[in-house]
Symmetry: C2
């Protein structure tokens, strides 16, 4: 004790110094050659969105790389946000949710993001930091792009709170003057260097632009242990808007602590299509369930998971997105066909198409996270079919996709299907697994014939050389069929990676 | 496809060859120096139990080490068995359960065990192998120690089945002629080399004895990736038996695929105390819940988990264990106080004492498995207190104990308590976690003062040097307090180990 006390006296180091993460992005910023193919060299970006980045040295050890990012709409837009189900929600998560709530998901300007520190489990001080970061960014954005809405949005929010239409608990923060969201990612339990961040926010706002390079640098700035920036963009059309080409673009980050439940790490998606806020929320929630909620790296659900979707409508005739943000859906003209959200209940053709576009886009974005899983050498699709229902299928797929034994066997290129069966068998809850009806196959990535491992509970003679050849490929699909009856239709797909020495190195030798 | 077909033609290797495990026990059989302290050099073993081992070369690569074990009572005894909840129960699990059922847990002779092959997911053939193994052993045991009971036990079982008192499904096996249980452990999906095993069963039965060396060799024979045999023995007394010293001894095995649910891998416990079968079942189930069900190595629940408890009563006056096995509890004299099980409902002093002895014994046995966790360098106790109830506490403790990020940080000796908080926060179900009331500390293994990391949701300034010193020790306790209210009393303790490069090596480079 004498020793430990003298050590204490000598070196009382605060947590903010203690948890420096040194694996946050490759030290020289180079993208590994085998990952370069996932980084776009050009893109088509949505009208009216500008993005930027700056270097605030959030982590003292990061002396070179941008760690602040800003994604903003030039006009206030409608927004949707899904966040982690972890009980310990980080300060930026709770503040962003408050902003969304107090402004009822409308007139949002964008999101400011830092990497290098999660601002999670940081108490009251952490929430104040998140508010300062969002507030300064918002004020500068308003100054840069003044809008008619800015003048009324704050007053309107305050009025609703006063009227009681929007209820805020007595001990809760009033964020009615902030319409810019905030996200953080990095080490948990560390306070933000908020002064350094605030000092760089003016530079961040000045850096805004809409070229491919702007988007790529912004996507890079939100990375932590990621080895490459994750950015996608594409164009689409909608039935009711002949002649108009819409764009959607998004970025995400994440490599470890990946097992989302309703959202994952950080994701920001922007579109210039006109989408009413209620529709936006349902669209984001639906697409999240088949994308970010279907990936896993290590089974750990983060405290900071957040995905935001912004729609500013600026590709459609100019007046529409404005109306979208300010009219109550009930007040919308029933014959109008320019507003996707308006006919949500009736599942308009526009809504259906938008749902298809967004889901496919978000699936591709989510897969990039698995491609970059910490230490991963493989991209594995686990498909479970013919379950009693989709939930049972998802549970079984998750059980396989998170099994340390399955994942280490895949890393070792070992066709050890017994471990897959074992993981199917211990999946929790009412999965209705029937061993005598269960079949398992490897689906090779080169399109060649499936390799049957188990058929109706009976092991197959397996050609080991072929199994080895299949496992040499980077991609693999594990197909599980839980029933031999036609009536069972439950299905689910989960994306995972393998579990390597490098994962242990990254997460064990964390500060060396 | 041409290539893969020609490869197929050239080398169609059956699964039985494919899944050879090379990490099953150190190649030279030496016990690592840091584990030697867990291997007893002497013991006190229960009367009337004999154990033995033999080498059947279950795995072709194992040319030296015993891989068959037999634990038997010289007189038929009462037995209890808990087994895995995995849907894919191995053949020996389902056969042993049938034997227990058809003989109503009485007149059991013992258990025959093989390592090197789990006989799991092996279909109908696998079940036939398990029956052959149990039957031959049982017949030879009966020949070695003929008992009055043997003459009637089989007839009685057949009579009960005929009467319908014991119901067997039409397509199910009749195992009424077998009263020896069977267990297997090793690779899943591979058939047993049953001919080689049968050829060695006579040697196995001949090897039976009751010295410390017999017990140690038997404990060694059931190991797979274990680095040391896990054997414990101790003595105890019971209030109603003045002057009698009872003994309990047990062995277990396991290092990977450890996350038991109602039982774990293999365990066999024998006592010469007289315990009626119903009491035995309740005792085993209770003790399992606070021992084998509280450990985890990698979160994977095996297909073969089985723990058996045998009580032959041979330390007590000779006639009693016999009566125990043959009388229906209802027919027992109500004033008799020599039978522990008889006053189960009234929680007799004997029962309470036996419960205490068995629970403590099984906890120590279970901890040995965590000590030998694949690749483990640390033994970590996760204690959760002041939860709403015990179940919530157990769920939270499990979430921490299975988190890959917590376990790799422990391996790296990194006091990354943020990951512990994260794992508390994503624990599934209704855990009633209240971030503002949660506290986390490290309890050092050297008995020095606790190191507070989080108090009522507020991070503490942590002395990093002291944290590092605490993490240098092999043992660590993580103490989580979920509430600051006096009324909350739910608690649970789970034992886990760290997650190292060696774990990945053992399970990834599985066949090299």
């Amino acid at each position: 004790m004498a020793t430990s006390r003298s050590v204490t006296a000598r070196r009382l180091i605060s947590l903010s110094v203690q948890h420096t993460r040194c694996y946050s992005a490759p030290t020289d910023g180079a993208i590994p050659p085998n990952k370069a193919k996932y980084v776009p060299t050009e893109g088509t970006y949505p009208k009216g969105f500008v993005v930027g980045s700056a270097h605030a040295q959030v982590k003292p050890s990061n002396t070179r790389f941008d760690d602040l990012a800003l994604i903003a709409s030039e006009k206030p837009c409608s927004a949707a946000l899904v966040t982690t189900q972890n009980h310990f929600q980080a300060a930026p998560v709770s503040i962003s949710k408050k902003i969304m709530f107090q402004h009822q998901s409308k007139s949002i300007r964008g999101v400011v993001i830092n990497s290098g520190c999660a601002n999670a489990v940081t108490g009251k001080g952490g929430r104040e930091d998140a508010i300062r970061m969002a507030k300064l960014t918002h004020d500068l954005l308003n100054k840069r792009n003044p809008s008619e809405h800015d003048k009324t949005a704050e007053a309107e929010a305050k009025e609703k709170i006063r009227e009681g239409a929007v209820k805020i608990a007595e001990d809760d923060q009033d964020v009615s003057s902030i319409r810019t969201l905030v996200m953080s990612t990095g080490v948990i339990g560390q306070r933000l260097p908020i002064d350094r961040i605030e000092a760089k926010i003016p530079t961040l706002v000045e850096s805004l632009g809409n070229t491919h390079d702007h988007w790529l640098r912004s996507a890079r700035a939100i990375c932590t242990t990621d080895t490459f920036p994750k950015l996608l963009s594409r164009q689409f059309t909608l039935p009711s808007y002949p002649g108009i080409t819409f764009s959607i673009a998004g970025m995400t980050k994440g490599a470890g602590m990946i097992h989302p439940n309703m959202a994952t790490l950080l994701g920001v998606i922007c579109t210039d299509a006109p989408i009413q806020k209620t529709a936006l929320r349902v669209l984001l929630s639906t697409a999240t369930n088949s994308s970010f909620n279907r990936i896993t790296v290590d089974g750990d659900t983060s405290t900071n998971d957040s995905v935001a979707l912004f729609a500013n409508g600026m590709a459609a005739p100019e007046s529409e997105p404005v109306r979208l943000n300010h009219l109550n859906p009930k007040e919308l003209p029933t014959k109008g066909n320019s507003l996707i959200g308006q006919r949500l209940e009736r599942q308009s053709e526009d809504y259906k198409e938008m749902n298809k576009v967004l889901t496919s886009f978000m699936e591709d974005l989510a897969k990039l996270i698995v491609r970059d899983g910490e230490g991963a050498t493989k991209f594995v699709t686990v498909k479970v079919t013919k379950a009693d229902n989709d939930t049972a299928a998802h549970t079984v797929a998750n059980s396989i996709a998170t099994s340390a034994l399955v994942k280490t066997a895949l890393y070792g290129k070992d066709a050890n299907w017994g471990r897959i069966l074992c993981a199917i068998g211990y999946a929790p809850g009412n999965t209705c697994v029937r061993p005598q009806q269960t079949s398992v196959s490897f689906i090779p990535a080169d399109g060649s014939e499936e390799l049957k491992l188990l058929v109706n509970g009976e092991p197959q003679a397996v050609d080991e050389a072929r199994a080895a050849a299949i496992l040499e490929m980077e991609d693999l699909e594990i197909l599980v069929t839980l029933s031999n009856k036609e009536k069972d239709v439950g299905a689910a797909t989960v994306y995972t990676c393998d579990f390597s020495h490098e994962y242990v190195t990254i997460n064990g030798d964390y500060r060396t």
